[in-house]
């Protein structure tokens, strides 16, 4: 029984870290633009797809493939931001959300066009595929996900607390006009937010590909789970989205194992609705969510 509980904790933490990384992507763009990027799951999936392309299909070294994946995903996000988002930045939020939904569809169909309709399989980065800890198994790839998870967490925390860029992003989120007055280049802040968010998501996508595979149509579900994590934890705080991701992953794994996967999915969305209803800023949110 002990090893089963431990197994649920390990599996839940692994999937939770992935949700947290997607949520972190939401958090970065929200901080930089004040907008929810519904193409976040697609950003992550592009990382999985490109990892397959550079490593499995072309045959590059795994480190080179990983780096190229991050670079290409970041460039794609920069292009998207410049072409679709930047020209409309002063439009109402609803317009921006619609544009980002269109970007999500663009990514999905672009990946279908480029990589086809078949699920792609990526092998584990490490030769040993699993580890046993107190009788419970852990996918070796989960260790790498944990490394990126911790690096991203501290990196983003450092960005917002110790750098001018991060402070500019916070200022832009709180009051765009005010930020402009004090000399913040909101145009550049938005660009950085997209680039950074895409880089984190691409790294996460590349690392989870050996666990979950890569299929062009899965971006939406990553977006939904990551969004749930961000809202539950609190999209405005780095620690909030991290806690939200881990919480969603653990609850989902626990309910799916003890009851059923369908019930777990239902519960997550109920949790999302209840959070928006009772505490819209999220469990660790520091203030009321902006309307």
């Amino acid at each position: 029984m002990g090893s089963i509980i431990l197994q649920i904790i390990f599996a839940g933490t692994t999937i939770g870290m992935i949700y947290a990384l997607v949520a972190l992507g939401f958090h970065l763009i929200y901080k930089g633009t004040g907008v929810i990027n519904f193409a976040q799951g697609e950003f992550l999936l592009l990382g999985s797809m490109l990892m397959w392309f550079f490593w499995v299909n072309i045959g590059f070294n795994v480190f080179l493939a990983f780096l190229l994946t991050i670079v290409c995903s970041t460039l794609a996000a920069i292009l998207v931001e410049r072409v679709t988002f930047a020209p409309l930045r002063n439009q109402p939020h609803l317009t921006l959300i619609m544009v980002l939904l269109a970007v999500a569809a663009l990514y999905t169909h672009g990946m279908l066009f480029a990589f086809g309709n078949n699920p792609l399989s990526v092998p584990s980065f490490l030769s040993k595929t699993s580890l046993s800890i107190f009788g419970a198994g852990v996918h070796s790839q989960a260790i790498l996900v944990a490394v990126i998870f911790i690096l991203s967490l501290f990196g983003v925390h450092f960005l917002f607390t110790r750098t001018m860029w991060g402070r500019s992003m916070v200022a832009t989120m709180i009051n765009k006009e005010g930020a402009k007055i004090i000399g913040v280049n909101v145009d550049l802040v938005s660009l950085y937010a997209f680039a950074l968010s895409a880089a984190v998501s691409a790294a996460a996508g590349a690392l989870i590909a050996p666990i979950s595979g890569a299929y062009y149509a899965r971006g939406f579900i990553w977006s939904v789970k990551g969004f749930t994590a961000a809202i539950v934890g609190g999209i405005e705080t780095t620690i909030g989205v991290i806690v939200g991701g881990l919480l969603v992953g653990l609850i989902e794994m626990f309910l799916a194992t003890v009851f059923s996967a369908d019930l777990a999915e239902m519960f997550l969305f109920i949790m999302l609705i209840v959070t928006l209803w009772i505490k819209p800023a999220g469990l660790l949110g520091i203030r009321e969510a902006k309307k």
Partner: protein, 391 residues
Amino acid sequence: MKRHGILIVLLVTFIAFMLLLTNTPAPTQSIRGSKPIKIALHFSTSGWGRSFAVEELHGGLLAIHQINAAGGIYGRPLEVVITDLRSDYNYAVTVAKKMAADKEIIAALGDGASGIVMAMKPVYFEAHMPTIAPVKAGILTKENFDYTYRCLFNDDWAVPASLKLWKETLGIKTISILHTADAFGQSGGDTMVARAQEYGIKVLSRDNYAVTATDVTPQLIRVKAVSPDALIMWGYGEPIINAFRGIKTIGFNKQILGPSGIFDANIISAVPEQVIGAIIADAMSVDDPIDEVQKKFISAFKAMYPGETFTVYAGAVHDAANILAEALKKVVKGDESIDRDEVKRALDKTDYFGNVGHFKWSATYHEAPEQLMLMTAKKVGSEIKVVRYSK
């Protein structure tokens, strides 16, 4: 003498008449034609159900190539209309409607996914279009199957037969079942639960997963918790790869059993180490053929598609195309248009020895032969081979 002369004349006349009759071919054979005969070859070569689709398509194309090389159906070549059904139920129905509307198309082969064939079945029933599919779900031939034929065994028979084999050969006493949440998986799971006790096997747990599932870890944790003698993975497709990985990750080290779906080329290439030792029950092993028919097919397939991995599914569709050709030989009259109902009546008289056994169809029996053996994945040199299981 005169009487003898008359008798001789009569005898000679009779012999001449008999010779004339003997040399006269059957009416259907007398008129040769050249107009192509169109048949639909539709398989889900993309999407979640693609596991065996390419080899199924190629099994059919190989047979058609062989039939056409031998002169077609009395001079008329078989022309195929190939469509990817995309593993999409709605799209498959649209394709079926298109095929049914084209009166020149006289029969269809495929898909390999039970749910897809079930979705197309009403359209073809309405259009009187005979369809032969390598589909195992029992439900396919339960009702309204006048125009639906099966070229791989029915799971309603195969599941109990597999249980019997597993019990007798492997001594399995307790099982957990993990199946796909589609017609194929549901049908296999239902039959296993209903019949396991007859063979002294206890079902400890039963779970399913969506064919598009990204993670089956919760289901595997539940299996590990009940600790069965064997886990039966009654499914196919991408989630099986994740399941094999998950099994290794969570440290479940009991026997893995399943249908041939767990040994498709994509799965073997994605998780080669994990499939070693798993056991399936099926009708043909490409690496270990049981008779000359299989050997001949395997060698022809390898010659036509060098380097391509294939299994019993290719053999079954090869059989299906040959059975259809035999039926067409009974109904084709020169270049006259062919009636689908006539083809159906000819298919109902099928008596054919193929890769998956002896087909014997009638108006009320459209099942594939009941031929089954245990096979396992073994490492031979650097390759994974699927060979007949022996202790």
